[in-house]
Amino acid sequence: MKQVLAHLHDVSIGYDAPLIEGINVEISEGDVIAILGPSGIGKTTLLRTISGLIRPLSGEIELAIPSRGGLGYIPQRLGLVGNLSVRANVSMGARVRTSRWWPAVFPLPKVFEEDITKAMRHLGIEELAAQPVRILSGGQQRRVATARTLAQQPKLLLADEFLGELDDDNVEVVMNTVRAAIRDHNSALIMVEHHEELAREVANRIWRIKDGKLIEEMVV
């Protein structure tokens, strides 16, 4: 039986005024959810609320995942450290798998090194490992952000337009890798996506935001 990872009870989200109201959904292991809707309607705000970066205006969000490392987040602007190498950025994902008492200035335990290398290899950025992230193209940076999440192995991954700027081949590589990771670790993915066709191709659930409501659509 699939375990429920997150439960949103009658949640309203927004900043001053509510953008989306009355959200009642469950997210379970193996879910790949695509959020669709026009710009400015609250898709990113929904992801940020689930991630805990902002509080819901009302309602309750329950997460059945570890507070450290359980949630992965790829923001629209990726959140990479431009001055650090690709490997150092990917390593940050593995760092949250250590105990929170592991000193920040200590290098990672050796046991994680293989996972970091594997994540870079799967996404075709192993050769860029020593390059500073700031000199990479937008598409390469997206693969680095995804590799960081693979190295983290979160139970719930939130990704904000993380397939943008990728060519068709790379979309396939990234999605296959992420789907394999979701299967292997019994996790779930919620992604904001602008391209409906792509969303229907990769997701097994669709959330459409319309008129301030979240509507779940059947995926054929």
Partner: protein, 317 residues
């Protein structure tokens, strides 16, 4: 019928008239206060002549004997210059500035992380800011006087005074840089569950490293210049020699030492610009030249044009 064409925005003269009004009133007020403070303008008469006489009789030409070996202690160096007042004083000032900048940086860094409100909660940030403000509120010369009471006259008081001021000043520059960081990496770290220490060490510091290095170089320059001033109150370095010559009214030697300081500060300024230019964002900023230091920007730019943008081969996927 309503005009459907282009909307035209005309310049509004009201703002510039207001600005002229404010500038005029402020200038008049400043002149009034200045006049009130000076009182007797007759004191200025003959001032220029006095300056010319002082310059010709006491300041110029500089006494370059400060570049020769001192009579005591006996010089054991092959090159006499290395036993001179100028060399010994300047080297000591640079050493004080270097040690104070390095120590100040080490203490300022954790304080700036605690003071940055995007890394620390308010109950941590406010006390850290108060500590930094307290260390910055007294100029290094006052710190020097206080430390001379504790450690007696000399280099140690100078190092402590400058370190204290450096922590306050550098800490402020650094926490402002950290607060200016982009949100995305910090938000990703928070969502992932990284601790504050991890976020500071692995994200905030590397992301603001260019600015931190730039501030560090600026602080070193600043400390070399201020090393001269705190030396005047007895805290070691070249200022101590300047103070001695001032007391002995040997102004030509003071001028010679001031010229030495000027040359050293320009050299450090140049070195600092070269180092800072290596860590600029894209790495395609042309190295500074001597013209950028000595000439105004408008003239220098004619000889030192912006280079063409370079493209890294990795930019195209």
């Amino acid at each position: 019928m309503e005009n459907q064409g282009w909307k035209t925005h005309r310049g509004d003269g009201r703002l510039s008239r207001k600005l002229v009004g404010v500038v005029t009133v402020t200038s008049l007020l400043a002149l009034f206060i200045f006049n009130d403070m000076v009182g007797d303008w007759g004191r200025l008469s003959g001032g220029w002549d006095n300056l010319v006489i002082f310059f010709n009789e006491s300041l110029w030409p500089p006494d370059w004997s400060v570049l020769e070996a001192q009579s005591y202690p006996v010089c054991d160096q092959e090159v006499e210059f290395f036993c001179s007042v100028a060399w010994l004083g300047m080297v000591e000032t640079i050493k004080i500035a270097f040690v104070a900048t390095a120590l100040g940086f080490v203490f300022a860094l954790p304080l700036s992380v605690l003071a940055a409100n995007n890394l620390s909660p308010l109950w941590m940030a406010i006390p850290a800011r108060i500590v930094l403000a307290a260390m910055r509120s007294l100029p290094s010369i006052i710190w020097a006087v206080l430390f001379m009471i504790i450690f007696d006259v000399g280099t140690l008081a100078g190092i402590f005074a400058m370190t204290f001021y450096t922590v306050g000043y550098l800490g402020k520059l650094q926490f402002e840089s950290i607060e200016g960081l982009k949100n995305a990496p910090l938000e990703a770290a928070k969502a992932m569950g990284m601790t504050r220490a991890e976020t500071a060490w692995h994200i905030a510091l590397p992301e603001s490293a260019n600015q931190l290095l730039s501030h560090l170089m600026f602080m070193f320059e600043y400390n070399v210049r201020h090393g001269t001033v705190i030396g005047l109150v007895g805290a070691g370095g070249i200022g101590l020699y300047i103070n001695t010559y001032l007391k002995l009214t040997q102004y030509d030697k003071v001028v010679a030492l001031l010229l030495v300081i000027f040359i050293v500060v320009v050299l450090i300024d140049f070195l600092s610009m070269v180092i800072r230019s290596t860590v600029t964002e894209e790495g395609d900023v042309r190295r500074p030249s001597w013209s950028t230091i000595f000439l105004p920007a408008s003239i220098s730019s004619k000889y030192h044009t912006t280079p063409m943008i370079k493209h890294s081969p990795n930019e195209d996927e």
